[in-house]
């Protein structure tokens, strides 16, 4: 019991240290979320296990916070009208249902150093029945390494008209990121359909 209490104190202290260390600067939403995630993770870890668990909790919480923060940073960088989309991809007739289709999925640059930024870009087309002016589209991305999920970027449903869209998610690569090949899974869903595609980038010190 005493050990548990000590661990909880360690967890809370670690949370406070992390929080204190960051409050003086200007931070992006991502970093703020990271701090919040680390604090909660450390606290939960400390309460449930020992100081080791507090540290693990902080690390995983930080990752979670990073993810949470990123969800609101996806940007729409271009869009196409239905006619432009038809000209580009050969759409020939109106659809009777909502159809979403990823045209391209890229990560750039292909090689990035720890601490750098990778732009995760997804281009998709949305087909709607003539009776619908908009449909709710949800875009998300999953970062994987060696087949394991590292992080997930979940977007909020956004109403979109028929046409084509290009969205960009800038992913900050942590300074402590392990070198190697990372896979990004790009997901877009609308109506009863969804599409998924993959791109890769390499983290190299």
């Amino acid at each position: 019991m005493k050990t548990r209490s000590k661990a909880a104190v360690v967890g809370v202290t670690l949370s406070c240290v992390v929080l204190t260390g960051c409050t003086g600067g200007s931070y992006s939403t991502t970093e703020t979320s990271t701090v919040g995630g680390a604090a909660v993770g450390a606290l939960v870890g400390g309460l449930l296990g020992g100081w080791q668990w507090a540290a693990i909790g902080a690390a995983s919480g930080a990752a979670l916070g990073w993810v949470t923060g990123k969800a609101i940073e996806a940007q729409e960088i271009s869009s196409r009208s239905t006619v432009q989309d038809q000209q580009l991809y050969g759409y020939s007739a109106p659809s009777d249902s909502v159809f979403v289709n990823i045209n391209s999925a890229t990560s750039s640059p292909q090689v990035v150093a720890p601490g750098g930024v990778v732009d995760v870009v997804t281009d998709y087309s949305l087909a709607l029945p003539q009776s619908m002016s908009q449909a709710s589209v949800t875009a998300s991305s999953v970062l994987m390494k060696d087949g394991e999920k590292v992080m997930e970027f979940k977007g909020q449903p956004v109403p979109k008209a028929s046409g084509g869209y290009t969205i960009k998610l800038p992913v900050n690569i942590p300074a402590e990121a392990a070198p190697g090949t990372y896979v990004i899974e790009h997901n877009v869903s609308a109506g009863s359909t969804y599409d998924t595609a993959q791109s890769t980038f390499v983290v190299k010190a």
């Binding site: 007739a93 659809s95 009777d96």
Partner: protein, 245 residues
């Protein structure tokens, strides 16, 4: 010698499929190639070779061994759509939605779906004149006859003739039987589909009646074959993906 010849002729009559003469025609091949290109550009399809596609393709290949005379290479494509649907565009190309793959209760029911699409091909439903039907017409092998109805699949138009649906069902029961699946799976699936509230193109209520008549008095298979490893892997992958979303 005569006995041997008679036996050989009898064997040929028994194993030679009734659809051996309904080879694909030039118009079918041309239309299917163009439609396939459009679908690949517009629709979210699963990649070739993933576990879900492999599971469905395995069942199609197993059935396809008993349609050798048709001269077709059967190719199954999976649409990332939770709606219940299955259709063909000719030249052996069959499309199944993920919703349909989730809906089938066992491999026999999936075989029944695929065998029905085989039926449209083998009956020559795609090898019809293109006159009076738009470029996108003719999914499922529609004829444009008066009793046919039109339905839409994405940006494509399907012409559905109830008589041709029943004809495809009749052929499906033969293919299922030959491949070792219980043809009653077609009836069981049609009955479940009739109550699923799915798209009307299957016209399952009428198909149920026709299948009941077709299979009347036919005993249920004493021992249904177990689902294959490929089918179970397909189901497991779909379930895992659903859980992650």
């Amino acid at each position: 010698m005569n006995r041997l010849l008679t036996a050989a002729l009898l064997w040929l009559c028994l194993v030679s499929p009734a659809w051996a003469q309904t080879a694909r025609c030039e118009a079918e091949v041309r239309r299917a190639a163009t439609t396939l290109g459009q679908i690949h550009r517009q629709w979210p399809l699963r990649p070739t070779g993933d576990r879900v596609e492999q599971g469905a393709q395995y069942v199609a290949a197993r059935l396809g061994r008993y349609t050798a005379g048709s001269g077709r290479i059967w190719r199954v494509h999976i649409v990332r759509d939770s709606k219940l649907n299955a259709f063909s565009i000719g030249d052996g190309h069959i499309f199944l939605t993920e919703g349909m793959l989730r809906f089938v209760a066992n491999e026999g029911e999936l075989a029944a779906v695929i065998a029905h699409e085989f039926g449209h091909h083998l009956a020559g439903h795609f090898c019809t004149s293109a006159r009076k039907r738009g470029f996108w017409g003719g999914l499922f092998g529609g004829s444009g006859e008066e009793n046919a109805t039109r339905s839409r699949v994405g940006a494509l138009t399907a012409i559905v003739d109830p008589e041709k649906e029943r004809e495809a069902d009749r052929i499906a029961t033969i293919v299922l039987d030959r491949a070792g699946y219980d043809p009653r799976h077609a009836l069981e699936l049609a009955m479940r589909m009739a109550h699923s509230g799915s798209a009307a193109h299957f016209q399952y209520r009428h198909r149920v009646e026709a299948l009941q008549e077709l299979l009347a008095g036919r005993p249920r298979a004493s021992r249904a074959p177990a689902d294959s490893q490929e089918f179970r892997e397909m189901k497991r992958t779909l379930w895992q993906e659903e859980a992650l979303r």
